[in-house]
Amino acid sequence: MTQKTTPGPQLTGAEIVVRCLAEEGVKFVFGYPGGAVLNIYDEIFKQDKFKHVLVRHEQAAVHAADAYSRSSQDVGVCLVTSGPGVTNAVTGIATAYMDSVPIVIISGQVPTHAIGQDAFQECDTVGITRPCVKHNFLVKDVRDLAVTIKKAFYIARTGRPGPVLVDIPKDVTANKCAFEYPREISMRSYQPQGKGHGGQIKKAVQLLLDAKRPMIYTGGGIILNDAAPELTRLVRRLGYPITNTLMGLGGYPATDPQFLGMPGMHGTYEANMAMQECDVLIAIGARFDDRVIGNPGHFYREGRKIIHIDIDPSSISKRVRVDVPIVGYVKDVLAEMNDLIDASEKQPDQAALKAWWTQIKTWQAKECLKYRNSDEVIKPQFVVQKLYEITGGDAFITSDVGQHQMWAAQYYKFDKPRRWINSGGLGTMGVGLPYAMGVQLAHPDATVACITGEASIQMCIQELSTCRQYHIPVKIVNLNNRYLGMVRQWQEFFYGNRHAESYMDALPDFVKLAEAYGHHGIRIEKPGDVEGALREAFKHREKLFFLDFITDQTENVFPMVPGGKGLTEMILAEEL
């Protein structure tokens, strides 16, 4: 094929990739080299616009880029080679996709003439990743490269955000053309509808002001769209109760009296009861996930009105029919609602609201998060509470997946958005440590802790090496109960207490392991030593500490809504 020549200085595809990333203001690229991306790596070597972070496994590259984005609102970027580089990255991509995180993945591909020949390290990257990306591209002509990368960033960050992959064959990175980075992009097939319908917004405000038992339920959309200030203003102005989902924690200050805690499977009694018993429910940037509302049939209540604001039309009326749908950026819609409420003569019915709060207070009186502390054995909840105290509630917390994740969400009170970084949708064990890396690099001076368990941490433990190389001083809080705790909990409740393969035997000595990677470790076995160990670790700002807390093996997460049950069918700790 002959290439048309374009005027201007000729750049290679690899140079173009690097120039595009610089144009996008990328500061970090997380990646791992290999044959198909060597031209790109050679150009990275020659530049100083952004830093490359060499991970120890491609999965961690994506997780780190993902957390970089979650904690900073910038698009995260990672770079992997063809074949196994991509397949290793898939878990990370699917994780980001489920939580709508804007990242751009650049992957190498075998040369265009070798595609389809079962070449060394070839795989159908576009095919494999298609169901877990917002969009992907295979660039077959170097002249399409710059505009494709521009589109990738644009698609990743606009509308409902998500991961976008750009697959670049090796010969495309060597071919040359003139470079010009497009200033703007417009696509006839992709025009996210950002502005909410004015009439619908008015209707929503009317419903909210007419409510006798209102409830505000918000999710990750508030965080992703940076709508916490608008939300906080609305909630305070109305005086209504609010709950934040697992993905939405920090969207409204958790220490505020109007905050009822998290809803859902391991949500608070008061949040779940209010979700169910309210007469007007407003869902903002949330998607009525099965872990949040339980059984949709049970969730349905005659007469309850539901308002749903979301940027993604397909999230609306997917699991639950709603009365007032509003498609738009939640930040703008909330701002418009605030203005309408300010201008409205009608105000919330204070008498009804008072009665509603009285009802809520009786639910709160159950103290559903109370647990029996111990002098003998370390309770995992106690560790999280102490961590909260010692970090002044102001740390960035990442978590893995399982019991420790739920305790972190329940007992660490997030007052600010983007402080709580976890895999909510896909539920990916192993994210905790690479997430902490991404967060720390985005916020070099911040306190970053990874709350994890002895099972999850071993799924990406190799990243301790990356942390060493780049001096990433995160604090690992390992709640070590020698069980796959959440699996064991389900086996106790639903499988006749048969612990099929949920016991962690032959665990490494985590202190020695941390030391082997050049870090510091402390093993803590007594409740009395918890605070001292935490203080010691957080005193050393420049060092990575691995805190191995040997916790109660039998502790379970409460409250709990069993799978398929309704929100009001919670099991509380006191009932057992």
Binding site: P131, L138, P313, S314, S317
Partner: protein, 163 residues
Amino acid sequence: MRHILSVLLENEPGALSRVVGLFSARGYNIDSLTVSPTEDATMSRMTIVTHGNDDVIEQITKQLNKLIEVVKVVDLTDGNHIERELMLVKVRAAGKDREEIKRMADIFRGRILDVTSKSYTIELTGDGSKLDAFLAAIEPEFILETVRTGASGIGRGERILKI
């Protein structure tokens, strides 16, 4: 209920697999699917025949619209529309049956495209039920081979799907 969705999408490699992948990933039904470039070569038009209740069809439409390469989606069954499907059918036609098969093709306004001493190949156009009726009218042992395009649809009157 049966629905006919018309989809305008970018004529790009992989666009079809995104649509098909969406249907299989989310468990939606495809009864038939046809796709071809339009008068504007950068754009393809797809006709998807599917079935499901209103909630499912609403989700299918929304999910299709969410695909980056999809420009427009219209449910033709929301209004008056025309649909046509083409079938080629090869039937055994020897001896005394030749006349009978020819007559049947005429009744259904079919055209015989190819003839051998033992068979006819017949072209038939119509909506799906007409094609079904033709096949039902012929003894099964006479049918040697059939191939159908699936339905293509267009709105009646002034209804136009274009960008």
